[in-house]
Amino acid sequence: MHTLTKQEKGVKIAAYIILTLMSMFAVIPFWLLVSSSFSDSSYAIANGYRFLPQKTSLEAYRYIVSQWDQIGHAYLITIIVTVIGTSLSLLISTMLAYGLMQPGLPGGKLITGLILFTMLFSGGIVPQYMIYSNYLNIKNTLLGLIVPNLLTNAFSVVLVRNFFMTTIPGELREAMELDGAGPYRIYFQMVLPLSKPILATLGIMAAITYWNDWNNALYYITDTHLFSVQQLLNEMNNNILFLANNSGQLQGVDVTTLPTVTMRMAIAVVGILPIMIAYPFFQKYFAKGITVGAVKG
């Protein structure tokens, strides 16, 4: 290890300062979110949110505890879907990419083209919904939360393929083939273990997609027992806004039973925490690095 020059030290210090500022910039609004979730809701309506709750109240969290049957269940759904969905997504996209990287694969270019083309055109949500609901029956099952998000980004397949092309040593593979290893063994025993950096990167992207998804859930899940945390929050927001906008035409609707803004803030906080805690555990794999793009088929 070489000793740092003055300039390098300067850059390093600058890096710490700038990143600290950026982190604060990211944390301050989050702090406001947390603080408002501890505020009294009538006070918040009249006076807005403060960084230190002026009139603290645990009503929002009491609400979460009282609704834990549903919120806790939604949590469980979110976690199950994120774990299964991310694993499946990684498996399918890496297998596809591994096939595509085989030199001389008949139709390889065509297939790559067809995969990339899906990023440019889509038939729209209604036809897709028809296929999933009328022919594949994934509605109101966990699959309804998992399947539509499996390969949302066709590009990730190309990303993995490029990673394989640049990092999988050909000699190692030939050596394994000489030992009589078939393509599947090579894939599982050599390719995947060598691909941790890209798996971690794609895994995080997929996991966040699953964790934050409410759009597909809106269409495919109507059974409240299968609601995920984000869907629960999104449903609350949508219904409250809808009812507020139409209050004139809905006589006698009792809106006092609806969750207040502070309650929704609390659910947002509760929804963010787990993924924040899990995130650092994935990061160590980044150290190996990946390169997006470059190698063409």
Partner: protein, 487 residues
């Protein structure tokens, strides 16, 4: 001997057949009916559903399955569900949606024959003159059945806490019609007493239509078509005009602007979260514009009338049967039973007596929660009143009673607009309507919160409406009105 045997056999057979009638009865017809919620599915829905089936299976041989859908999902997803057949539904309520577009896309079954064959009670209600289908007739066919209204009529009004009336000594008379200038006086007096308050509750965030009807005399936009497609102004008018260009509307905007500048309207009125009643409950505002009907009044409120009550054409909507329904006839039988049997309607509306509610006053139908049950922990508390004959539905509020509603209806029925029974078909002007819709979303919430300078902004709005083709739409609407009015 032989004859005897035969006759005994015959008698036996007869007996057997009599005995076996109930046993041989077909499986009840299973129907799926949407059940609208405010977001959370009531935990006791299945329990209530079982009770409902205890009534419907013996009476009409229909087994009901409620499918819980939140109000927003119903708005956002019904078109997709019905068009693709992704969800089985036999009877549904597209809440607050104009079903015209469903009809145009052939998504609904025409109901005339179904009603004639399966719904004697609905037929009777229609003959009685109840407006349960009159707003939903397209090209001569009925497409939806609404609840029997507990009150039919509307009018401009301002709901305000009674304590503010008392504090300020405002000269209040429930039947007098006040002007916007009278309100200015009231607001000024409240503001003086409570400088931190914004007396006039206006929130226009995300609004997609005008709220002028709450502050004006009779307005009819023909069958719930959006107001930017032209309206009849005044009960006797037969001329379609652009409401936004009218002198009355400009006067309304001028007042809103004046109130905003004077601090009577919240400075964030165009962008804040929260409904007007939550702001009123939080003590930020004193009242808000609303239909002057007595049902809009909560405890401790009074309604200041801004126009005489009147009756006008209402939006198309109500219970519909999708074209993919598996058991349309059974769905209609169920509808008919709920509309005629108020015990059943109350069961679906408020749950099981003793468990979800207790009767406090049998005469007025005033009910309350049982010991230990509250709005938040009740297993069944859905306040969207969408079932049956709402005149006979119980109420959790002591201040509402049917006598008042009837009086309001009676009063309103004396002033009927010329648009009743007429509906506007937007099919020929869809592009203009789309463009106008975007213009209204852009300008109306800002203008109606009084937060911008009218001199500059209002002419822009009018010009944008013209550019979007309002004149074409007005002409089309007038033509349709003339044609239908003559019949």
């Amino acid at each position: 001997m032989r004859k005897q045997v035969v006759s005994i056999l015959l008698a036996l057979a007869l007996c057997l057949s009599l005995v076996s009638v109930p046993a041989l009865a077909e499986e009840p017809d299973h129907i799926v009916v949407t059940f609208l919620t405010l977001g959370a599915t009531p935990p006791d829905l299945v329990k209530v559903q079982d009770k409902v089936n205890e009534k419907t299976i013996p009476q009409i041989n229909v087994e009901v399955e409620f499918k819980a859908v939140s109000a927003y999902d119903a708005f956002a997803l019904f078109p997709t569900w019905v068009s693709t057949g992704g969800e089985r539904i036999d009877l549904m309520l597209p809440l607050l949606q104009d079903i015209r577009s469903y009809v145009d896309q052939q998504l609904l079954l025409p109901l005339d024959d179904l009603i004639a064959e399966n719904a004697p009670h609905l037929t009777a209600l229609m003959e009685e003159g109840q407006p349960i289908v009159s707003n939903s007739i397209f090209d001569g066919e009925v497409y939806a059945v609404t609840t029997v209204p507990n009150m039919y009529g509307q009018g401009g009004g301002f709901v305000v806490g009674e304590k503010y009336i008392e504090e300020t000594g405002f000269d209040y008379d429930p039947s007098r019609v006040y002007t916007l200038d009278d309100l200015t006086g009231l607001f000024a007096a409240i503001k003086e007493k409570h400088p931190e308050m914004y007396p006039c509750g206006v929130v226009t965030t995300g609004k997609t239509n005008s709220e002028f009807a709450y502050a004006s005399d009779a307005i009819d936009s023909l069958g719930g078509a959006p107001t930017y497609t032209g309206v009849l102004m005044g009960a006797d008018s037969t001329t379609i005009v652009d409401m936004y260009e009218s002198e009355e509307y400009q006067n309304y905007l001028r007042h809103l602007r004046e109130w905003n500048l004077a601090g009577y309207i919240h400075p964030d009125a165009a962008t804040m979260e929260g409904s007007v009643d939550s702001l009123k409950a939080a003590g930020v505002t004193a009242g808000y514009f609303m239909v002057s009907a007595p049902v809009q009044r909560k405890e401790g409120d009074v309604i200041i009338r801004l126009s005489e009550p009147y009756q006008c054409s209402a939006g198309a909507g109500g219970w519909v049967i999708p074209f993919r329904a598996v058991e349309p006839a059974a769905a209609m039988r169920f509808l008919d039973l709920v509309w005629s049997d108020s015990d059943l309607a109350n069961l679906i509306q408020w749950g099981i007596e003793g468990e979800h509610y207790v009767m406090l006053d049998k005469d007025t139908g005033y009910i309350g929660f049982p010991e230990g049950v509250t709005a938040t922990n009740s297993g069944y508390y859905i306040t969207l009143g969408v079932w049956g004959d709402t005149r006979k539905i119980y109420s959790f509020s002591a201040s509402n009673n049917q006598a008042e509603n009837d009086a309001y209806t009676e009063e309103a029925s004396k002033r009927q607009t010329q648009g009743i029974g007429i509906s506007f078909n937007m099919e020929n002007v869809t592009n203009e309507v789309a463009a106008l819709s975007a213009v209204v979303a852009q300008y109306v919430p800002t203008l109606e919160s009084g937060s911008v300078d009218l001199e500059m902004y209002y002419p822009q709005f009018i010009q944008a409406l013209k550019a979007a083709g309002i004149d074409t739409v007005l002409a089309e609407k007038q033509a349709q009105f003339n044609e239908q009015y003559q019949k």
